[in-house]
């Protein structure tokens, strides 16, 4: 243990000196989180999606949306809604970008739904404001999923012989309209955009930071100092232990500094510190294991660095550290669970939704599973080679 500490202390002082660990572990993620959060308007208060509304229908199905859903969303500061009288004006404004999106309810929409013929709402979008369009779409979709339910309720009411269609619809719509908004929030267990980018960049660059400790074993071989370490009166595992400790310290320190830094500088909200720390520890360990496997099968420090960069970027992209996974295809969200990054972000998301500490258990176990599996692989591949001079 003493020898491992001596080795880790030496490695850490080397890493601090060459500055690349500081650059990749702190400067780059913090800088990118700052830039992203500046480019992409953050927080619900300031993020106004400008939406135009053309309601040619004015029937009982659109009424709850126009009268209750949209005002509620507007009050939350998510949207600003403008009424339009005709389609061409709305279309040209959306195209020009003065509106980010447009809702078009055609005449007779409600009737079509109520007579079970199925109606069509049009969503106008602007390619330059795809996130805004997606938000507008999300609001509409969560309402329409309620409409389906209404349609079914009305349908079955008619079959069972009720006659006052308007009354039934009003009753059916009254409760779901309130539920719709509640659902939008509950389904969105994601981090706000500032926290998302802060955490995403932190976990993305974590893999680069951790690599410095793991790869220094290759560096020892390269400098010829590995035989000296092997000849020293210490347990050989202390050499591995020292390297792992170096990685761990670099990783956890950079994560903590980033969490504190983004909280102070751009108002990221990481959530319960204990939960965050547990997720961080598990995240660092998973990164350590994955980078160890790459280091073990590499021959030179350069080769290791190249492969580690490829692996770190690939896992980071797949793990959804650059864009929220909900914005991508479903399959991606599924595959992303093959990365520790996604588990880390999921854990933070659940934590930020205000749930108890128990929500970190599954993500933590998933990340520790990565650690166990990759360390086992590293031992299998590296047993013979790593500690040979």
């Amino acid at each position: 243990m003493r020898a491992a500490l001596v080795i880790a202390a030496k490695d850490l002082s080397q890493r601090i000196r060459d500055r690349s660990a500081i650059l990749l572990g702190l400067v780059a993620p913090l800088g990118l989180a700052l830039i992203f959060s500046a480019i992409i308007p953050s927080g619900t208060e300031s993020f106004d999606v400008k939406v135009g509304l053309l309601d040619d229908d004015g029937g009982p199905i659109t009424a709850p949306f126009v009268d209750e859903v949209l005002p509620a969303v507007t009050a939350d500061g998510i949207m600003a809604v403008t009424d339009y009288g005709d389609l061409p004006a709305l279309e040209s404004d959306v195209e020009a970008g003065s509106q980010n999106a447009g809702y078009v309810f055609p005449a007779g929409f409600s009737d079509d739904i109520l007579t079970a013929q199925g109606g069509t709402v049009r969503l106008l979008g602007n390619v330059d404001s795809s996130i805004s369009t997606q938000i507008a779409q999300a609001v509409l979709e969560s309402y329409l999923s309620e409409v389906d339910a209404i349609g079914i309720a009305v349908g079955s009411a008619l079959l069972s012989g009720a006659t006052d269609v308007d009354d039934i619809t009003a009753k059916a719509a009254a409760t779901p309209a309130a539920v719709t908004l509640a659902d939008t929030e509950a389904a969105n267990r994601e981090l706000d955009i500032t926290t998302f980018f802060s955490a995403g960049m932190a976990v993305f660059f974590l893999f680069f930071t951790v690599q410095f400790g793991v790869s220094s074993l290759l560096e020892e071989r390269f400098y010829g100092t590995l035989p000296r370490l092997l000849g020293a009166p210490i347990n050989r595992w202390a050499i591995i232990g020292g390297k792992a400790l170096t990685s761990f310290v670099l990783g956890i320190v950079s994560m903590i500094v980033l969490a504190v830094g983004t909280t102070v500088l751009i108002g990221a909200e990481w959530g319960n510190p204990v939960g965050v720390l547990i997720l961080m520890i598990a995240g660092v360990m998973s990164a350590l294991g994955i980078m160890a496997v790459v280091a073990v099968i590499s021959k030179t420090p350069e080769q290791a660095a190249n492969w580690q960069a490829i692996v770190a970027v690939a896992l980071g992209l797949l793990g959804g550290t650059f864009f929220p996974l909900s914005q991508g295809p479903r399959l991606l969200a599924l595959f992303s669970k093959l990365t520790p990054h996604a588990w880390f972000l999921q854990g933070l998301g659940d934590l930020s939704a205000g749930d108890g500490l128990e929500v970190v258990i599954t993500p933590t176990l998933a990340m520790l599973a990565f650690f166990v599996v990759t360390i086992a692989l590293a031992v299998v591949f590296g047993r013979k080679r790593v500690l040979a001079p």
Partner: protein, 311 residues
């Protein structure tokens, strides 16, 4: 008690048997040389002796403690100077020494003063705080040795410490090795320079193809070849006339001549030389130069392996 005893060391890399049954011992205060060409198995042998490389077979005992790759305490008795420079370029000499001092568990109170001592010995006192990447090749070599000395080992293993070093640094290194030997540190010194082995070592093992071919003091090894000296004579006038005149001398084993020179192989050149010069004078052949070459480890190596030590 011997400082080092090793026996039956074997190491193969895939099909290549790099070391094949190497064994020898080093007595207290003795300087022992492993002399052999590139690829002879010197580094592989001492890597096993130092407990760095796992052996396929054989045993190593240093000052009574068995050494394997898993030994911890026993390794503290060994100082190891790798063939390739093994220092951290981004640390200063002092920091390099401090790191290895801690690793060898040197007591904190005395570590700094011991580091100063070593810096003094290797002549780096005034550069001790500079990063070693700014050092010259010779300075790096000296630090490389200094790290091996730091913990005052019972047995110091030096693997070709003068390779790629300018003559001046080389001499400085040889002198400090001699000094260590005089102070009673047992030394295991590998080299492919015959002169270094002759100058430094009390006993020498000649290693080739992973095997020790012969072992002993310089004298003992030379006797293996037979004690023949070579006398080279520079001749003014007819070399053939001198060859004919010398034909009567029984002690001369063989004689060859070229234009302007005669080469004579004899046993004990020093006693025979006056007679040879006498005969030359009587034959009326002028002598422009005399050179006597005693047999050396180079010729021993040639004799034993049929090839030169270096190509």
């Amino acid at each position: 008690m011997n400082v080092l005893e090793c026996e039956g060391l074997v190491k193969a890399f895939d099909d290549l048997v790099a070391v094949d049954g190497v064994g020898f011992h080093i007595a207290e205060g003795e300087t022992y040389g492993l002399l052999g060409p590139n690829g002879a198995g010197k580094t592989t042998s001492i890597s096993m002796i130092a407990g760095i490389l796992e052996s396929d077979a054989g045993t190593v005992t240093v000052a009574g403690t068995e050494i394997t790759t898993r030994t911890t305490e026993g390794k503290a008795k060994i100082g190891y100077v790798p063939q390739d420079i093994a220092i951290y370029p981004d640390l200063s000499a002092r920091e390099n020494l401090r790191f290895f001092g801690k690793l060898y568990g040197l007591p904190k109170q005395s570590l700094d003063s011991r580091i100063d001592e070593v810096l003094e010995v290797i002549g780096l006192s005034d550069r001790g705080d500079d990063r070693t990447e700014e050092y010259s090749g010779g300075m790096k070599r000296r630090l490389n040795i200094g790290i091996g000395l730091l913990h005052e080992p019972t047995l110091l293993i030096l693997d070709e410490p003068t390779v790629g070093v300018d003559p001046q640094s080389r001499n400085a290194i040889l002198e400090s090795v001699e000094q260590l030997g005089r102070r009673g540190t047992a030394l295991l010194y590998t080299t492919h320079y015959m002169e270094e082995a002759e100058r430094l070592c009390d006993r020498v093992a000649i290693i080739d193809g992973g095997k020790i071919r012969a072992e002993g003091t310089r004298r003992e090894l030379v006797e293996l070849v037979g004690q023949r000296d070579t006398v080279n004579l520079g001749v003014v006038g007819s070399a053939q006339r001198l060859v004919d005149a010398l034909g009567a001398v029984e002690e001369i084993e063989s004689i060859t001549s070229t234009e302007g020179s005669v080469e004579i192989l004899v046993e004990g050149a020093s006693s025979l030389l006056p007679r040879i010069l006498d005969i030359a004078q009587q034959a009326g052949v002028g002598i422009s130069g005399v050179e006597v070459v005693e047999p050396n480890l180079e010729s021993v190596f040639l004799h034993l392996t049929g090839k030169a030590l270096r190509d």
